[in-house]
Amino acid sequence: MKKLLVGIKRVVDYNVRIKVKADGSGVMLEGVKMSINPFDEIALEEALRIKERGQADEVIVATIGPADCQQQLRTALAMGADRAILVQSTGSIEPLTGARVFLELIKREQPFAVILGKQAIDDDNNQTGQMIAGLWGRPQATFASKIVLTDTLATVTREVDAGLETLEVDLPAVFTADLRLNEPRYVKLPEIMKAKKKPLDMLAITDLGIELQDRMRLVKAEPPAARQKGIVVKSTAELVAALKQKGLL
């Protein structure tokens, strides 16, 4: 059976206006809408399309976090994933620990590819996919905007600073999704009903024999320095004059 493993993360929804707590202990999360990290949604969509093309038999979606993450896994199942795994953990997970969890899931499931979003929009770390590939000793193709598969190879177009880079990698491999890889589908109501019957396995992070590491302590969180509000000029002439005065034109 050809399996695809997709990693998703539960994060504060894209549209929520972030507020830093007054005591500097973090970001306000109480009563805030949570969603699948948008880049991970793109990763899942790609996996589903690969399966729909007949190049995979099963799409497994996995996450690490508290029991509340079942909500996001159910959404992923409604999108079309075949089954879900929740590795339960209440504390904060540094990316390398997350990568170790995925390495254990890889050993159990033997997927031919692992797909994740390139970064989560909460911590903006952009690390986990690369770390999984490093621990696994397999290729990585990050920031992918196109993935073409054969039985043994993947040709991946990547969004890099210089433009678009194309790599060829042997399978199994890790891919991380960039924005323009695809546009994720909308979930339809009947699919949400069906998803309730799909398997969702729960296990504790300690069941995987993973030692929790917390090597990065949050000292404080603060809002960014605000920019001074500027002025609105009335005409192009005024704008050009102001820029000339600043020596910018």
């Binding site: 504060v12 972030i18 830093v20 973090g26 970001v27 390398l96 390139k118 909460d122 903006d124 770390n125 952009n126 690390q127 690369q130 770390m131 590939a133 490093g134 621990l135 397999r138 290729p139 990585q140 990050t142 920031f143 040709t155 990547r158 969004e159 890099v160 600073d161 210089a162 433009g163 678009l164 880079e165 194309t166 790599l167 990698v169 924005l179 323009r180 917390d214 090597r215 990065m216 302590r217 949050l218 000292v219 969180a221 603060e222 809002p223 960014p224 920019r227 001074q228 509000k229 500027g230 002025i231 609105v232 192009t236 002439a237 704008l239 050009v240 102001a242 820029l243 600043k246 034109l249």
Partner: protein, 314 residues
Amino acid sequence: MNKILIIGEHEGGKLNASIAKCVKCAQAIPDGEITVLVLAADSAAVAGQAAAIAGVAKVLRVDHPANAHALAAVLAPQIAAVAAPFTHVFGPSTTFGKDLMPRVAALLNAPQLSDIMAAESATRFRRPTYAGNAIVTLEVAPGSKIVATVRSASFEAAAAGGSAPIELVTPGAEIPTHTRFISVTAAKNDRPDLQSARKVVSGGRALGSAENFKIIAGLADKIGAAVGASRAAVDAGYAPNELQVGQTGKIIAPELYMAFGISGAIQHLTGIKDARTIVAINKDPEAPIFEVADLGLVGDLFVVIPEIEALIGR
């Protein structure tokens, strides 16, 4: 003593401008000694450029045919082997560094801090989260190396005028063949590089087409600026991906940023908030870009751009 290893990104025989900024960041670490590592097929020229950055104590160079193209899977084991005596391993927060450094961290069993904005001590760093809406200060526990990517927009370049010794080393790491470079395509032009340009002219969804987007490039050429674009403009196909400015595109800090027809989504503002002067031209007086603009003008960009060009006589 803190021994900091900086990975010297390069392309076409030139050291990336972000490396002098990594050096500046590393200089804030007390009792530090800075080494730059250059890996290439033939690293001599680039190593020489790294040695000329003031503050660099030593340059290590690795020559291997497999290093002709920067592939994370190929470079990471070599870097991990060289990194053994170092306390810190830094790379730039470019797509090169973002791709490579976590793989190095995994091989070193080290935590990574992405996009550091400041080093407050050898173990305490500041970095942005939530698209720059929460700046966190993190303390790393002693006992492991620290891997980090350095946010270029937060640092000036370290000065020139160094003359560090250069040493050729052979890491002896096993180099995988499972990852192969095929090609890279980039629009070639003579404009300044978006990441390091002093001036940037940027366009958004309001441009309406790739054809119309040329008006942005036209103004940029007249004032010697780089061209940028919002995610909306890139998604719509008006501009190529490498021009995207914002949370998931490039984070830039030019002296002048001119935003035409960009509404100013928070993800875009993340990419420009270190710009010295932000100019916004938008038809919608309620556009959020005006909240951060130093100079705003409510108007139609297709009228305003020709007016600017006429007024500057170019």
